[in-house]
Symmetry: C2
Subunit: 434 residues, 2 copies
């Protein structure tokens, strides 16, 4: 072991997109620095990608080429595989299983893979006493997996909030700054490469859900679980809600939320209003941020670039250096056999405050009907604004509630829907005061 | 080794003040959680403190008592020593050397010890292949040493800013919020236990210097070096400067700054004006924060409680769990033999912008004399305010400069001092735009 640890650590890299090229560049250009920090040389001996002939601006002449990424698992010249292909299944999953089954350390930036198969892969890694690491899967360059799994390991984690998708945060930032509609900003973001051609994963909150599932798993000692993760994206955020948010002292952010109480855990992804004075509200453009509250440490926060070549490669290589240093512990922080199965608290029982926007006919008596619907569900009003002249006709009524169960808030919404004076489905947003 | 790693890890704790008691509490109350995370039980088998008879509200009946902390090093029932006594020399230093010499892992919260003897202790630890860890020495509960040493290990660090002393930040916050003088706030802080009876270490920047020396060492791969760390505290910050800062769009913070350029490194501690819109300006009360800029990751930031029982114990135990997991690498991130000796850039050659406040006689021609002194040193003015009626008589002239060398700024100050119209030593503050 001691001798092994001084030999060069030979990497096989699966996937040579932006991040893969970033990893190759750092390994080559910072070889001396990495060797000093890792205690041994780190070299790349094999790669796999779709097109061998594409010019990526990197020298791969000394690397063995694998058309099939899974071949990296059996390559005797590869000590550790870095997976940057993405996708929860297919070759990434096959490669992970093959590597871990035969005890070859596996580093990945693939949130879908870990969120979907984290438990099984952790089991495989533990059985072969192999490292499985995924720092780059969450919040790009911010070392948040390490902070949670190691730095805060003395804490019972009570609460965690993340702004984890740069595309969504960028869209929300531009909608607010430039008073533009969602579709408009999305189209522009796609043009300049800030959003994918198929933006579903980002804007519908799926990417944030993957990352939140991973953080919640580590925070609470549970398996990643996408089935118990109610997820809502930012498609329905209207400019008018962004304006009202500001008027009421809030800003809209797409949040991953994970909370642990005596009764169980809540894990969810949705847009929410956060106070303008909160640190989450200050996170703009494509930046990511995570707030973590532990029983000992109190609240700590982490902020940085959530994506991009340098930041993501930075986290991939941090994992590689840890493994080069001989670090290996259960991938989810505790052995799979010690994962808890905590009850998931449905969002119905969630107690919080809510923002509701109604478009109503602009006639006397409307306000009375609205307040009656709220009173019927024992939802009490914290603040209320009425404005005439919605663009589409009628007037807006905007209100925030005092604390109530989500069930009551939703029941009030269905009352509203049944009223003649309410012209369209009401908008509702949770208020989070992290 | 594999068998060893499953045996309980037995701690000896030196120092049973607030943090020591916190460590004992967490180890006892979170035993099951820590065991699952560490892969083995963690127990406390020995302690040392000044007074064996003091009631600390913890049960020490199963622990061996050592009157002399250094005895912990030779105690066969102790696998790892946690040092929480403080002080750069004396028993803490003796204990560290004794432990590391005989290969007993050593965890400390002692910034003075690491800043002063880091290089020597790292050498001892490496020679015996023993872990030496000090997460709690910097920024309390924020896992910043780990972030820098592990999470960002793929980066060449260009720049680092820290608000690292909660007492100073608390004093500056109250001075601003309540428009109180330094002495007044300090006295109150001492009364409620936020500042020590002898506050020198905090308010003169020495504590911040210790922490900055440690962060700079890890960031740049150099030895901690207090001799090349110009240090200035907050004793001379006047309420009037806090007011002017705000008027000019800044807030005054005590900063630890470390910067690496092609020419060498700058490491320094001083109060500075930071833009109100910056994240550092938002760090209030006793909170700590660190901004780190790496060549790959860009800027990342970290915020949380910088002191206190829970936060500090949280970091101490994170180190203990790492060691329980079998993690051991060179204490300064690279072997001592690979530490660089980079040239220190004197503050004279520092190029920056400056705030200068002068109290002058309120007569015609003064402004001309002032601007002439600046022009003589080729210091150009960015903004300038003149206000009549300083409380002590005369008028204030307040100005900010464009970029200039510190040498020129200081030369301009000495011109001012020689002018008859200047009634007292000018105040100068660096402006940092992190």
């Amino acid at each position: 072991m001691s001798e092994d640890k001084r030999k060069p650590l030979r990497l096989g890299v699966a996937g040579l997109g932006t991040v893969g090229v970033g990893v190759v560049n750092i390994v080559e250009q910072s070889a001396e620095m990495l060797s000093a920090r890792a205690g041994r040389d780190i070299v790349i001996t094999a790669v796999s990608a779709r097109d061998q002939n594409r010019d990526r601006g990197i020298d791969l002449s000394t690397c063995r080429w694998h058309d099939d990424a899974v071949g990296l698992a059996a390559d005797d010249n590869v000590d550790l595989v870095v997976e940057l292909m993405g996708g929860s299944d297919g070759p990434a999953y096959a490669l992970a299983k093959a590597c871990l089954a035969e005890g070859k350390p596996f580093v990945t930036a693939n949130k879908a893979l870990i969120a979907t198969h984290g438990r099984e892969l952790a089991e495989l890694a533990e059985a072969s006493e192999t490292a499985l690491r995924f720092e780059a899967a969450v919040a790009g360059g911010i070392p948040i997996v390490k902070a949670l799994m190691e730095g805060l390991t003395a804490n019972k984690i009570n609460e965690l909030y993340g702004i984890l998708n740069g595309t969504c945060n960028y869209i929300l930032t531009r909608m607010e700054r430039e008073k533009l509609a969602f579709d408009h900003v999305l189209a522009e973001a796609q043009e300049i490469g800030y959003a994918e051609a198929d933006p579903t994963f980002d804007i519908d909150g799926i990417d944030t859900a993957h990352k939140t599932a991973i953080l919640a798993a580590i925070a609470f000692g549970i398996a990643p679980d996408l089935d118990n993760l109610p997820t809502e994206g930012i498609r329905n955020i209207a400019p008018v809600d962004i304006d009202y948010a500001r008027e009421l002292g809030y800003r809209i952010k797409l949040l991953g939320v994970a909370r642990q109480t005596d009764k169980g855990v809540e894990v969810r992804v949705h847009p929410a209003m956060v106070p303008l004075s909160s640190s989450l509200a200050g996170v703009m453009d494509a930046t990511n941020a995570v707030l973590i509250t532990g029983d000992q440490v109190g609240q700590t926060s982490y902020e940085g670039a959530g994506a991009g070549q340098g930041p993501t490669a930075s986290s991939v290589i941090a994992d590689v250096v840890d493994i080069a240093r001989g670090i290996c512990y259960p991938p989810l922080g505790v052995p799979v056999s010690k994962l808890k199965s905590l009850p998931y608290l449905g969002s119905d029982s969630h107690i919080g405050t809510y923002y509701i926007r109604l478009r109503v006919t602009d006639v006397p008596g409307v306000m009375a009907e609205i307040t009656k619907s709220l009173a019927n569900e024992a939802v009490s009003i914290d603040s209320m604004l009425q404005r005439g002249h919605a663009d589409e006709g009628g007037a807006y009524i905007v209100l925030t509630t005092h604390e109530t169960t989500e069930q009551s808030a939703i029941a009030a919404l269905s009352h509203f829907n049944a009223l003649d004076c309410v012209l369209e489905s009401p908008a509702m947003l949770r208020i989070e005061t992290a």
